[in-house]
């Protein structure tokens, strides 16, 4: 099989992993080497689905001995199989990189033969790429859950980010759809990476030139809509991953039907709106100081598809609003629907040199379409509606695209 054919098969098989980030690493180039990492991350292109291409995202092999129901590469799936050699991965990465097509490599793999064997192949590839070929661009490597922690920790020395995919947000889901994946094993691998990251960080405090270990941190992915797990469970899981494992990112992937296994829900379109709401909730956890318990509860276990999670929260907590834009503290500014981190920072900066009126907010680039209902400027309210949850809700409603909403609600009935 020629390289072009392999690339076709092994990139098509990797695209369902949604992680795309190339940020968080400061890796420098070395004399005679090629590449460096940009701390902010750089997107190089956008495919027809509107997602960015930052890294060359490929599987090392799609020849899998597992049989996870939701996965295109499961052993019983009738698809062409291919495997790269380390040299082929390196050749592709470097020739794409030199033309500025990509920011680096994202290397994942199906489980070929065994977890350890697969992890050894991945390790060999990244070690060679860094050592022999002096490549210093960004590398995101999948750790194979259940592989020997020694192999995983060795690989971590060469890469910028590592991830272990949890995929299914509950133990029950895993047992049903991915019988060979065990929650304890996945968590053990993730915990292992976290403790290595901490350990190397400590060493770097003491010795300036101590080697780095996964400097851009660890991430994971959850599939949404392949199991009946509610949003509360998913967001709680994410929250605990951020807190206890110090994860940099949790990615959410709307389940795209790839098999007609009776254990899977039959849907025609992936639940994209739900995925989007989960990302919004995730952002609220990481950048806006919210906790999972504020967004969802046992009585209210799913995110509102018609309204973004911050607006839903605000409507449930109207007693806190409206806030005075010239006085509210920064944390409260961040909680106003329609005000993001940038706007909140601008408001905080601008009000130090003069009080802000409604027109001033427009001038400094704050979008007031949603925010106007929750703020006062110099004591005046500009919402032009009764300050009641039902009225405000009508004003805030997003248009929900016709192709998505309904089906998600009825999936499991």
């Amino acid at each position: 099989m020629d390289l072009a054919e392999k690339l076709k098969i092994l990139s098509a098989a990797a695209k369902y992993d949604v992680s795309c980030s190339s940020s968080g690493s400061n890796r420098q180039n070395i004399p005679g080497g090629v590449g460096n990492a940009a701390y902010s991350g750089i997107c190089h292109s956008w495919t027809d689905d509107g997602r960015c291409v930052s890294l060359l995202k490929i599987l090392f092999t799609n020849d899998c001995c597992y049989n996870c129901a939701y996965c295109v590469n499961r052993i019983t799936s009738d698809i062409p199989r291919a495997s790269f050699t380390p040299e082929e991965v390196i050749e592709l990465t470097i020739s794409f990189y030199r033309r500025n097509y990509i920011e680096g490599l994202f290397l994942s793999s199906a489980i070929y033969r065994s977890e350890d064997y697969t992890m050894e192949q991945l390790l060999r590839t990244v070690k060679k790429l860094r050592g022999e070929y002096k490549f210093n661009g960004y590398i995101h490597l999948k750790a194979i859950p259940g592989a020997d922690l020694k192999l995983i920790s060795e690989a971590g020395k060469y890469v910028d980010r590592m991830s272990v995919n949890i995929e299914l947000p509950s133990d029950r889901g895993l047992k049903l759809l991915a019988p060979r994946k065990k929650k304890e094993i996945i968590l053990k691998s993730m915990g292992g990476i976290t403790s290595y990251i901490d350990q190397y960080k400590e060493e770097r405090k003491l010795f300036k030139h101590a080697p780095s270990f996964v400097p851009a941190g660890q991430s994971t992915q959850l599939i949404v809509g392949a199991t009946p797990d509610c949003d509360l469970r998913i967001i709680k899981l994410s929250e605990s991953l951020y807190r206890s494992f110090n994860l940099k990112r949790v990615y959410y992937s709307a389940y795209v039907p790839v098999s007609d296994d009776p254990k899977l829900p039959s849907i025609t379109n992936p639940p994209l709106v739900r995925e989007n709401r989960l990302y919004q909730a995730d952002w609220l956890l990481r950048f806006y100081g919210f906790s999972a318990g504020e967004l969802l509860s046992e009585n209210n276990p799913n995110l509102d598809l018609e309204l973004d999670p911050k607006a839903s929260w605000a409507l449930r907590n109207l007693h806190l609003f409206p806030i005075e834009i010239n006085k509210a503290d920064y944390r409260m500014l961040l909680r106003v629907p329609g005000i993001g981190v940038k706007s909140a920072k601008r408001i905080a900066a601008a009000r130090r040199v003069g009080s802000l009126g409604y027109e001033d907010l427009k001038k400094i680039g704050v979008v007031l379409k949603r925010a106007r209902y929750f703020i006062t400027c110099r004591g005046k309210y500009y919402g032009e509606t009764a300050f009641r949850p039902d009225f405000l809700r009508q004003k805030l409603l997003d248009k929900v695209p016709a192709d998505s909403g309904g089906e998600q609600l009825t999936m499991f009935t």
Binding site: L7, A38, D49, R99, A254
Partner: protein
């Protein structure tokens, strides 16, 4: 109307700003020579670019206002928008008054304008760090043509000098006929003839084909969203994108 006419360089503009404080006649507009068409009532003050005067203003912006303000002024200058010189002049007038607090005066028209323009330039610079595509030519030179809205070729050069430090490359702004050349040691700005022919290296077509195939197969079929794609990657940049040809 009193016009200050400068040579179009950043140093020229800084010299003009220097002169505005020492000449009794204050400018009502500052224009690069190629934009000045002249009119009956124009009183023209010719500004001769002077490195020492320019450097004094450069240092003053940096130290008396802030390094950020200096960056914003330079980015705004690179936008080449008609009238940007006067906006810069007025922004700096406020800057001398309020010092490093200037970037808090977001409701002030002078500040808002410079922020808006410099942000646009910064966004395009960042976009092109990703969207520049090198083609390998015969003779081991990597060549990238671009047609950016703003004059950002000098802003992206240091990034590629660090990143692709072991290859010879050229980034060619075909709109302005300027280019950055890098020879594995240092980069220089130069004028480049737009009509020149470029012969691709032998393996280049093969590599481009691989990239096109990859690009196509990386999209998830059930999620097609062309509007979103164009929002991130406006069509005016597609002309030199390998994957969009």
């Amino acid at each position: 109307m009193r016009y200050y006419i400068y040579d179009g360089s950043f140093q020229g503009l800084l010299t003009a700003i220097y002169e505005s404080y020492y000449r009794s006649a204050k400018p009502e507009d500052i224009l690069p020579r190629h934009r000045f068409t002249g009119n009956l009532f124009a009183q023209v003050e010719e500004i001769d670019t002077d490195e020492i005067k320019a450097d004094k203003v450069f240092q003053a912006i940096k130290n008396k206002i802030s390094p950020t303000a200096l960056r914003r002024v330079f980015y705004a200058f690179l936008s080449e928008i008609t009238g940007v010189e006067l906006l810069i002049y007025r922004y700096l007038q406020l800057g001398w008054k309020v010092g490093r607090d200037i970037d808090r005066h977001l409701t002030d028209h002078r500040v808002a304008m410079i922020h808006k323009i410099s942000q646009k330039v910064g966004l395009e610079k960042h976009r092109l760090l990703g969207l520049i595509r090198f083609r390998k030519l015969k003779g081991e030179i990597y060549y990238a043509p671009i047609e950016p809205d703003y004059n950002i070729v000098s802003l992206v050069a240091p990034h590629f000098a660090r990143r692709l430090s072991d290859q010879n490359w050229v980034i060619h702004d075909r709109k302005r006929d300027v280019a950055v050349l890098y020879n594995q040691k240092e980069w220089v700005m130069t004028v480049l003839d737009p009509g020149r022919d470029y012969v691709l290296a032998e393996e280049e077509k093969y590599c481009q084909q691989m990239w096109k195939n990859y690009f196509r197969s990386a999209s998830v079929p059930g999620r097609t969203n062309l509007k979103l794609q164009r929002q991130f990657m406006p069509t005016r940049y597609w002309r030199y994108l390998i994957e969009k040809q």
